[in-house]
């Protein structure tokens, strides 16, 4: 993987500082919108936050959050579920960097500003190799510097409404190859009424959020290693989903 350019390092540092200054306002606005306008809720948030705190406390080294993906609000739900706002203010590296698709999230000024303040690193799915590599270099740099990064390893919202074990991307595997000490925090989230993928969850929906940390490793190298690592993560999420539905029935 290409090394990160100094200019990109400086830009990320500047983005982090600016984002931190605006974080209380941005977080309050986003959470108010989710809680008041969309009337969303999370089941047992205290338990989830205690588990996240314990998992992070036990872990030394980089942490990559890998979650299933069904709506455009998934990132907000994850941030909301894992810790209260004041905890992110005290330890801003826990507020995860996100990796949204550039085409979808840079269309308007609103999304560009929101992405900048929301600690986002754009990626172009299926884009030119040098652009994708530049994004991956930024992500690995962030992990190495102790920042938590959040990614949707399926590469998009699942069209099957279940963790897609057939059509996922291997980019997450390349990231772990580059930073092999990375621990993966698998986050399985699902709204009670979320039967399929959508832009937004149904108003009034309640989310269940489950967490599992593991350290993916591989005996392979090159592209085969990236595929193997990405597959391990997807299968872990699929197993969490199977347990979720077994428990629900």
């Amino acid at each position: 993987m290409d090394p990160i350019a100094r200019r990109d390092q400086r830009m990320l540092a500047m983005q982090r500082r600016t984002s931190y200054l605006f974080f209380p306002i941005v977080a309050l606005l986003a959470l108010s919108w989710a809680r008041v306008v969309k009337r969303l809720s999370i089941r047992d948030p205290r338990q989830i936050r205690a588990r996240f705190a314990a998992l992070i406390g036990e872990t030394h080294g980089p942490v990559l959050i890998c979650a299933n993906h069904l709506t455009l609000l998934d990132t907000i739900v994850i941030v909301w579920a894992l810790a209260p706002i004041h905890r992110y203010i005290r330890r801003y590296s826990l507020f995860p960097w996100s990796v949204p698709e550039k085409v979808n999230f840079s269309r308007t000024w609103f999304w560009r500003v929101a992405s900048f303040l929301g600690k986002c690193v754009y990626i172009t799915r299926g884009g030119p190799r040098h652009e994708v590599n530049r994004s991956l270099a930024k992500i690995t740099h962030l992990l190495r510097t102790g920042e938590v990064v959040s990614i949707f390893p399926e590469g998009g919202r699942s069209r099957t409404a279940r963790v897609d074990t057939q059509n996922f991307t291997y980019g997450v595997g390349q990231i772990i190859q580059a930073v092999p000490e990375t621990r993966v925090l698998c986050v399985y989230l699902r709204g009670r009424d979320q039967d399929t993928y959508s832009d937004f969850p149904r108003t009034g929906d309640e989310y269940v959020v489950e967490l599992e940390m593991f350290h993916p490793t591989t005996v392979y190298s090159g592209l085969r290693a990236a595929r193997d690592l990405a597959t391990q993560i997807i299968l872990r999420l699929a197993a969490m989903e199977a347990r979720h539905f077994a428990h629900r029935e």
Binding site: G126, G222, R224, R227
Partner: protein
């Protein structure tokens, strides 16, 4: 192995990943995997790994990045089997 033999084997390998099956019947070396044949970009890695298995070669990331058309794929395979 002749260019045509390699081409035929490449076609067989990529067949399961192709969405525009009609284009495959008239495919030429200039045919682009993503744009013309509708291969999902994420599946390019699977195709490259299938080339490795089928031709018993190792394709590094740099060579894999060069695979854009059928002709590119054949060139990489021939370079590695030489």
């Amino acid at each position: 192995m002749t260019d045509q033999a390699t081409f035929d084997r490449v076609i067989d390998i990529i067949k399961p990943y192709v969405k525009n099956g009609d284009r495959l019947a008239t495919a030429k070396p200039e045919t682009r995997l993503l744009e013309d044949l509708g291969v999902n970009s994420a599946r390019l890695v699977d195709i490259v790994l299938a080339f490795e298995d089928e031709f018993d070669i190792a394709i590094d990331d740099e060579a894999a990045d060069r695979v854009s058309t059928l002709g590119d794929a054949i060139a990489v395979i021939q370079e590695k089997t030489r």
